[in-house]
Structure formats: C-alpha cells, structure tokens
C-alpha cells in the first residue's frame, strides 16, 4: 500500500474544500497587505483590503490531506475506479460553481 494511491483523493477533496472555504470564508489566517500584517482566522479589513486567499489555500491543503489520510483505510480497487472519474469531474464542477459565484462581475 503506497501513499500515492490517495493523491487523487487529495485533489478531489482539495477542490471541494477550497470552494467551500471561499463560499463560507473559512480562511485559517488573514493577510492585511497595506500594514503588512498576518492574523489568525478570518479578520475584518485593517487600513485597506484583507486577503483571505492564502488562508483558503492552507485550509484546503490541511483538509484534503486529512481526508486523503482517512482514504488510506478504504479498499484500493473501488477507490481507484471512483477516483479516476471524480478527479476531473469534481474540479470541473467546482470551476462551474466558482464561475456562478463570480457571475456578478460579468453581468453588470
């Protein structure tokens, strides 16, 4: 059993958790570029915009890593079969979701 067999699970989970992080703003930390300050979790803007993107990436990475670790307990063959489709279908679906979330920019 190799760890790499759950890499597709990581990628599937990453896409879902990342989009959920954006939608619900689940950033593990916030960056304030104007005063050049970092803070834990989601913080309101301070002297300029607040950036959550870095925090969303970390949330998605840790969440996907945890789910991939749990997937090591699942049987290899069915997991491989399901992952071979979900690994591209889920990211494409998540791109559709984020495009829908951002539609306001293009419909004004």
């Amino acid at each position: 059993m190799t760890i790499s067999r759950v890499f597709p699970v990581f990628s599937i989970a990453f896409a879902v958790i990342y989009i959920a992080s954006v939608w619900y703003n689940l950033a593990l930390f916030t960056y304030h570029p104007e005063p050049d300050l970092w803070g834990p979790l989601v913080q309101p803007p301070k002297q300029g915009p607040a950036m959550y993107w870095y925090g969303w990436l970390v949330t998605a990475t840790l969440g996907a890593a945890a789910l991939a670790a749990l997937a090591l307990a699942l049987p290899a063959k069915p997991l491989e079969r399901a992952a071979s489709v979900l690994v591209w279908l889920v990211p494409i679906a998540m791109i559709g979701v984020i495009s829908y979330i951002l539609r306001g920019y293009f419909l004004r």
Binding site: P33, I98, F106
Partner: protein, 154 residues
Amino acid sequence: MVTLLLIIHSLLAVALLGALTHQAISVWWPATRRTGSFVSGLRSVPSMSYTNAIILLFCLTMIPGAIVYAEYRIVVRVMLQDYRLYGPEGAFELKEHLVAIGLGLLPAYWYYWKQPAVKDRASTRAIVTTLLAVIVWYSFLVGHVLNNIRGFGS
C-alpha cells in the same frame, strides 16, 4: 521589486505554458513515428519526462505570483474598481481560484503520469492534463491582459 517579480512570473509562465501545451498535444494526438516535421516533433515529445518539470514550474510560477498578488489587491484592483472594469476584475478573481484548483490537482496529475504505460489510466491522464493546460492558458491570458490594461510600468 514588484516589476522584477512580475517579469520572473511571466517568464516562468511561458515555460510552463509551453511544456503543458506540448504534453497535452502529445497525449491526445501522439505521433506513431517521428518524421522530422514541426507537427510531428510537436506530437512526439516524451510526455512523462515533462511531468516533474511541469509540477516544479507550476509551483515556481505561483510563488512570485502569490507575492505580487498583494500589490495587485492594493493598487491594481482599486484602479479596476474606480474605472468600473468589472469584467477584467472578475476574470482575475476567477484566475485566482482556477490556479488554486490547479495547485490541488498536481498530486493527482503526478499520480496518473507515474505509470504512463498503464492503459486504464490513459483517459484520466489525458483529461487531467488538459484541465491543467486550460487552467494555465486561462491564467496566462488573463494575467497578460491585466498587466497590459494600463500599460507596463504606468
């Protein structure tokens, strides 16, 4: 400093775009034998040898991009909002999320290229590679347009 990082980001993006486009073409339209023509050469690259380089280039391109992103939020995005350029602003917002999804896709991309001879992974490998190529092409074009929207160095 920001200009230098932006140039490095752009140059790495060009290399990434070329490698990924090459790989995507060769995976969908492989050459059975190399004839020496440009098209044949384009189709007959050893795709597997590109994989690790593409992963490395993706990460190396993203690092300066992530650094200059802060400057974008303070300076460029405000200007886009002032000029009511909602389309370019939204296109860049989408780029930020596509790049994140692409980053998350890299472990699976590596996994499906690890054993290129395994036939039952061929279609997954091709689709994942194409998805990454689309993400990189979109990001490159949006970055290029945003960079030129007021002219370099303005």
